[in-house]
């Protein structure tokens, strides 16, 4: 009965919600161009401050954000404050998991031969890929979050695959803490050097080069490290007690 009522309500909602939203978003005809009134236009053109001219990959220099990946330039430069909030959420949830799992007993999962061997071989590669992804976050798809998660996976593979590495997660905490603090300090450096918090105060170089985009790569490295250590911490905390299901 409850399910039927719910289903009915959902169907009603589906009908009316789609109709209501369809009026403004036009589900059937996507626009062929970015709407002119959206502020993203300025982001795409790297022209928020109104100084830039034409933008050419590999040639334009000293753009305001200087990242070839526009999503990255939004995430780490234009709206870097959101990202700070985002890693704070992650930090918080790692804290919460740690607090709630604090009383648990850490159990070592018994790992088989395949896991052990594969972990030894694959984990370094994954780690490397992760690092690659977040260092190239301003040029290619990806960035700190996927890179960090990848690192975390590598760490976990290593963690599960080896009997010798035991429960010492202290370094993770240190990395997490230091990376977070450095992010804020970087932001504060922007405040002192360039006048506003989290401002990109380093020269942004040439669009498309690895060493470009000012603090963006630095921030992404920090984010990557932080996310990596936090996600590892969360999953490691989860494995503290045996989950019976």
């Amino acid at each position: 009965m409850k399910k039927l009522v719910s289903l009915f309500l959902i169907l009603v909602l589906a009908f009316f919600l789609t109709t209501a939203l369809d009026q403004g978003l036009d589900f059937w005809h996507s626009p062929s161009q970015l709407d002119a009134f959206r502020m993203s236009n300025a982001f795409v053109q790297n022209d928020v401050l109104g100084e830039g001219g034409a933008l050419v990959f590999g040639e334009s220099k000293n753009l305001e954000s200087g990242s070839a990946n526009i999503v990255t330039s939004i995430v780490v430069d234009y709206r870097s404050f959101d990202t700070l909030g985002e890693i704070t959420v992650l930090f918080l949830s790692a804290l919460g998991v740690g607090l709630l799992m604090g009383s648990g007993v850490r159990t070592t999962l018994r790992s088989g031969f395949i896991l052990k061997t594969a972990a030894k071989m694959v984990a370094p590669l994954m780690l490397l890929t992760g690092i690659y992804i977040f260092t190239h976050g301003h040029l290619t798809p990806g960035g700190g979050f996927p890179g960090g998660s990848m690192m975390a996976t590598a760490f976990l593979l290593h963690y599960f695959g080896s009997d010798t590495v035991k429960s010492n997660l202290k370094p993770l905490k240190w990395i997490e803490s230091t990376a977070g603090a450095l992010y804020i300090l970087l932001g504060l450096a922007g405040l002192f050097v360039a006048g506003s918090f989290l401002q990109n105060f380093l020269p942004t170089g040439t669009l498309g080069h690895l060493v470009s985009a000012g603090i963006i790569p630095l921030v992404y490295v920090l984010v990557g490290l932080k996310v990596g250590s936090e996600v590892s911490g969360i999953v490691a905390d989860f494995s503290k007690t045996e989950v019976v299901s």
């Binding site: 909030g85 804290l95 919460g96």
Partner: protein, 475 residues
């Protein structure tokens, strides 16, 4: 530089990240951070602070005006006093409280809708974690599910606002939204309202508050009722002033939700026999009243109500949870006559209850009067009738508790025949001092409404013009 308002967010976050590894100094770090924040609040100039070097429509900025100042001041002071009050408990949750502080400050300062969403989520998650301190995880889970659902609603609303207007900046967003056709702005506005409804404890979705507030301890009770509740109230006030365009449909729905929250919350509080539960429902009701004020375009009355409620509830919850912890139970039978042993706490509790009910000579009275006066100017004469009728119910249950808590004597007998609970140790001298300071603050504010009113009235120019229910349709 040093006086930039950004420190209010950067400092707690930095402290939080550091505190994870410096566990011995955690608590000191928290206190120092709060003190520094207070300094920053007084040093920072008012105005727009940009982040990342990009001007408002594009970058994120912080809006620090009189309104934000009041909210921030209230929250820093209360949080400082609460962590001193609940020191042993606060020690375990220091990083969480620090992050929550950053989130609260960010939530009240931010001038960007999406950033607001992020900050709300930070505060919500911190609140989930803090609520586990009650030791009742099913309630935390309940809260978590509801808050997250509403978070998703808020996110969708934000995104739709972006889709329709192309910007996310809070200040002045209302102008853009009001120029949209009703059919377009209705859904995002509805989503934004429901996105805040859970944290505001509005009626159909306030069920979580019953247990989270009703089984609180010395740390969570005051923090939820006196820090988180007013913070979300203030954010809602900002949203009502700058973002949300009310159509008659959303407006009346919101109004009905707010009124029913107030009425049903107080009615449910009336029947409780558990002190903490009573206070929980009272918090729900009061939140409804504040929301009603913001909805009816009387932010000024809403602010007063929020401040009064925050101060009163910090004392009420501080004393109630302390006494409950000491005597083992919050029921009327156990706590009868308990203030016979704890007179100072009793006096503070009485002051707070009288102010909460809105009895003259206390701050709550001026809050109630300004609320009713504000509603008169909207022309809805029946709303004050509801408010005042409900105020009778509210006064009735608060007074019942007050009388029971003070009087150890048997019913029908004079004082000489009394049954006293055995005296237990509730608070240390330092904690009593904190409660006393809170009571003095509340009392002084009530004594000098004039000056207080003058200070608050400066908030008026900074706020946009009042928007009435149904305003959105006039365009």
């Amino acid at each position: 530089m040093m006086g930039s308002i950004i420190w209010l967010i950067a400092l707690p976050l930095l402290a939080a990240f550091v505190s994870v590894v410096a566990q011995t100094y955690q608590y000191g770090l928290l206190v120092v951070t709060l003190l520094m924040n207070l300094l920053v609040l007084f040093a920072a100039p008012q105005g727009l602070t940009i982040i990342g070097g990009y001007e408002p429509p594009f970058g994120i900025s912080l809006l620090f005006d009189q309104y934000a100042l009041i909210a921030l001041l209230l929250i820093q002071v209360l949080l400082l006093l609460i962590i001193v009050l609940a020191r042993p408990l606060a020690k375990n949750y220091t990083p969480v409280i620090l992050v929550m502080l950053a989130g609260l400050n960010g939530m009240l300062l931010t001038n960007d809708l999406f950033n607001l969403f992020v900050m709300i989520e930070i505060v919500s998650i911190a609140a989930f974690i803090l609520s586990t301190a009650n030791g009742k995880l099913t309630h935390t889970f309940h809260y978590l599910i509801l808050a997250t659902v509403s978070g998703v609603f808020f996110l969708l609303g934000t995104v739709l606002v972006y889709a329709y207007t192309g910007i996310l900046v809070v200040q002045g967003l209302m102008m853009r939204l009001a120029s949209l056709p009703v059919a377009l702005s209705l859904i995002p506005m509805m989503l934004l309202i429901f996105g805040m409804a859970v944290e505001l404890k509005l009626v159909p979705v306030s069920s979580w508050a019953k247990n989270i507030y009703g089984q609180a301890n010395l740390l969570t009770g005051p923090i939820f009722a006196a820090v988180l509740a007013p913070a979300f109230g203030f954010v809602f006030g900002r949203m009502m002033n700058e973002v949300i365009v009310l159509h008659s449909l959303t407006g009346y729905t919101l109004l009905v939700m707010a009124i029913s929250t107030f009425v049903l919350g107080e009615l449910a509080a009336y029947r409780q026999t558990d002190l903490l539960k009573t206070l929980a429902f009272s918090s729900i009701g009061q939140s409804g009243l504040a929301v009603m004020m913001f909805t009816l375009g009387a932010p000024w009355a809403g602010i007063l109500l929020l401040i009064n409620n925050a101060l009163a509830k910090s004392i009420l919850y501080g004393v109630a949870t302390g006494v409950t912890a000491a005597y083992g139970n919050a029921s009327m039978g156990v706590l009868k006559g308990v203030f016979y042993h704890h007179r100072l706490l009793g006096v503070a509790f009485s002051l707070a209850s009288l102010s909460l009910v809105g009895i003259p000579l206390f701050l709550g009275f001026f809050a109630k009067v300004s609320a009713v006066m504000a509603i008169f100017s909207t022309g809805l004469i029946w709303v004050p009738v509801i408010i005042l009728l409900t105020a009778i119910v509210e006064g009735a249950y608060v007074m019942r508790w007050l009388l029971q808590l003070w009087s150890p004597a048997f019913e029908g007998y004079l004082a000489s025949k009394k049954e006293l609970p055995q005296k237990r140790n509730v608070f240390s001298a330092q904690q009593i001092l904190v409660v006393g300071v809170l009571a003095v603050i509340l009392f002084t504010m009530g004594l000098m409404p004039q000056r207080f009113v003058d200070a608050l009235q400066k908030t008026q120019p900074a706020m946009a013009q009042y928007e009435m229910v149904g305003q959105g349709e006039q365009q």
